[in-house]
Subunit: 336 residues, 2 copies
C-alpha cells in the first residue's frame, strides 16, 4: 500500500497489466499463471539451486531512451551471464518492475515480448514477480535461478598456481560501445559496421550459457566479466589468494575493437577496465586444458588463454608483447 494518496498512473489495474503482458510468459507449472502470491521451484533430486539478483536502473545501467526490447534482454541476460559462469543451467526467474507514471503500454508490450523470447531462448521461464508504480526511476529487478549437480557450483576461489587464465569471446567491445553510446568527445570515429558491432555488444549481452557444463567439468574458478577484465581478475585472484600474469598481446579482440585500437592505442585502458563484457573469466588446470578446449569447441564459443595463475598477493600483472608492464589508473568500475 502506498504511503501517499497521490493519483497513480493512468494504467487501469495492476492485475490487468500482469494478465495482458506477463501471464503469457508464466507457463511453467510453478508460476501458477502469476495468480498466486508466490512461485514454486522443484529442484531435481541431488541438484543445488544457484541464486542471483542483479537489478538494472534507468540512467544507471541503461539509457532512459534505450528501446524496451534491449532493456528486457539486458535485465535477464546480466543474470544469466552470472549463472553461466557459475556452471549453472537456467531454471527460472522472478521479475520485480518499478514503473514510472509515463510508462506506456506500448513500452510494456515490447518489453514483455522480448523478455518472453529470451526466456524461451535460454529455457528460463518467468515464475513470478511484482509490479509497483513509482515516482522514481524505471527499475527492472530480476532474480534468476539456476541448477547444478550438488556441490559443483564453480567458485571464484578455486584458482591454483599454474592454472591457465582463460576468457570467452572477445573483451573490450562493450566498453568501446558504451563510449560510442555516450558520444564522448575525442577518440577515433569508426565506420558504420564497426560502430554497429560495438554498440550491439554493449547493448545486448550474450550470456555464455553454452559453456556452463564445460566450466563445471574443467574450471578451477570462474566468474563473469561485468566490471572490466582487470578489476574482475583482481577479485578472482583475491578470492583464490593467488596472482596472475596476463599477456595483453594474447587478448581476444574483435575486428571492430582492433580497428579502434589501431587508431588509438590508449583505448586499451577503456577496454580492459570499462566493463559490460559479460564474457566468462576462468582458470583451467593444465591437465584439463585440452579437454576444456575440445568441450568448448563443441559449443561454438571461442575460448582464449590469456595468461597464467602465479603465486603472490599483489594484483595481477599485465604485460604487452614486448614484456612491458601496463598499469591501470582505475582498475574496475565501482558504484561507490
Amino acid at each position: 500500500v502506498s504511503v501517499s494518496d497521490e493519483p497513480q498512473t493512468g494504467m487501469s489495474g495492476e492485475d490487468r497489466l500482469i494478465a495482458r503482458y506477463f501471464r503469457p510468459l508464466a507457463q511453467a507449472p510453478g508460476a501458477f499463471g502469476l495468480a498466486d502470491d508466490a512461485a514454486v521451484l522443484v529442484p531435481p533430486p541431488g541438484w543445488d539451486l544457484v541464486l542471483k539478483t542483479d537489478p538494472i536502473i534507468s540512467g544507471v545501467h541503461f539509457f532512459p531512451d534505450d528501446p524496451p526490447d534491449a532493456v528486457a534482454r539486458k535485465a535477464l541476460r546480466v543474470n544469466l551471464s552470472d549463472l553461466a559462469a557459475k556452471g549453472a543451467i537456467p531454471a527460472g526467474f522472478l521479475l520485480a518492475l518499478a514503473l514510472p507514471p509515463n510508462t506506456s503500454e506500448h513500452w510494456l508490450g515490447h518489453f514483455a515480448q522480448a523478455l518472453g523470447a529470451d526466456a524461451d531462448r535460454y529455457q528460463c521461464p518467468l515464475l513470478g514477480g511484482d509490479t509497483d508504480a513509482t515516482p522514481g526511476l524505471l527499475t527492472v529487478s530480476i532474480t534468476a535461478f539456476g541448477i547444478v549437480p550438488h556441490g559443483t557450483m564453480v567458485l571464484r576461489s578455486g584458482a591454483k598456481v599454474g592454472d591457465h587464465v582463460v576468457v570467452s569471446g572477445t573483451v573490450g567491445d562493450a566498453a568501446l560501445g558504451l563510449r560510442l553510446r555516450r558520444a564522448l568527445p575525442g577518440g577515433p570515429t569508426p565506420a558504420a559496421p564497426v560502430r554497429d558491432h560495438l554498440l550491439a555488444r554493449y547493448q545486448i549481452p550474450e550470456p555464455r550459457t553454452g559453456l556452463a557444463e564445460t566450466l563445471r567439468r574443467h574450471a578451477s574458478a570462474a566468474m563473469d566479466i561485468s566490471d572490466g577484465l582487470v578489476g574482475d581478475l583482481v577479485k578472482l585472484c583475491r578470492a583464490s589468494r593467488v596472482s596472475a600474469q596476463i599477456n595483453t598481446a594474447q587478448l581476444p579482440l574483435s575486428e571492430a575493437a582492433r580497428s579502434m585500437l589501431d587508431s588509438d592505442p590508449g583505448l586499451l585502458d577503456t577496454m580492459l577496465t570499462g566493463g559490460d563484457d559479460y564474457e566468462v573469466l576462468c582458470t583451467i588446470p593444465s591437465a584439463h586444458l585440452a579437454a576444456f578446449r575440445s568441450s568448448a569447441a563443441a559449443t561454438d564459443i571461442a575460448v582464449t588463454v590469456i595468461g597464467q595463475v602465479v603465486a603472490g598477493s599483489v594484483g595481477p600483472r599485465f604485460t604487452d608483447a614486448r614484456g612491458q608492464a601496463r598499469s591501470f589508473e582505475r582498475p574496475s568500475f565501482s558504484h561507490f
Copy 2:
C-alpha cells in the same frame, strides 16, 4: 557499469560497504561470505522451493524519514509474510539495495543491524545480493526463499464451498496506523497508547511464520492480507471460483482499533480496504476446524472464523450484526 560518468557517492568502495555491514549477516555456507557472484541453496531432498520477491521503495512503501531499522524489518517481513501464508519455512534471502548519494553509513549500519536481527529471529539468512548507487529513490528489493514438503505449498485457489473463512491476529490496525502516520485531517484523535499501537502495527509487520505448518496441514487456501481484507478476499475467491459470506461483527479487532471505530464507525471502510495487515487469510474445511484451532492455539497466534465460503461468481458479501449488507467503494489498494 554506469551509463553516466557523474561523480558517485562519497562512500569509498562497494566492496568495503558490503564487507563492513552485510558480510556479518552472510554466515550461511551457501552465501560464501558475499565473496562470490552467486549464492547456493541446497534444498532438503523431497522439498520444494517457494519463491517470493516484494521490493519496497522510499515514498511508496515506506516514508523517507522512517528509521532504518523499521525499513529493514518491513523489507524482509513483507516477504516472510507471504512465505508463512503459503505454508513455507524460511530458508534464506537475497538483498538488492539501490542507495541514493545521501545515504549515510550511520543509516546503513542501523539498517544492517536490524536486518541481521530479523534474519536470526526468523532463521532466514542473507545469502547474497547486489548494491547500486542510484540518483533515484532508496529501494530495498528482497527475494525470499522458503521450503515446503513437495507439493504442499498452500495456494489461493483451493477454497471450497462450505469452508470456514479465517483470519489471523487482528485486522485494520495497520490501515488506521497509516492514517495516523500520514496525519490526515479529520477523524478522532486517539490517546497515546492507542496511537502507539496502531502506528507500530503499521510500521512493523509480524509475519505469521509460526502458522506455516498449521496452514499446510489444514488450510484449503491461504494468502497474506497486504492490500486489505476485502480486496484480498476478492482475489482468493476469484482464484478458487467461489464467493464468501463475511460477518463484520465477527472480525477480530484490537482494543485500539475498536476504540477508534467507536468514535467513528465510518473507519471500518479504511480498516478493511486499507491494507498492510500482513495477517493470514485462509479457508479451513469444516472437518479440519477443530484440529486447525488446536494447532494454531499452540502457536499463540489468534485465529478467528469470520465467515463461510459460498457458491457464486459475485464478490464476497459483507454483512453487519443486523444482517445489513456493506459495500466498499474501493475494495483494494492498487498501484495502477
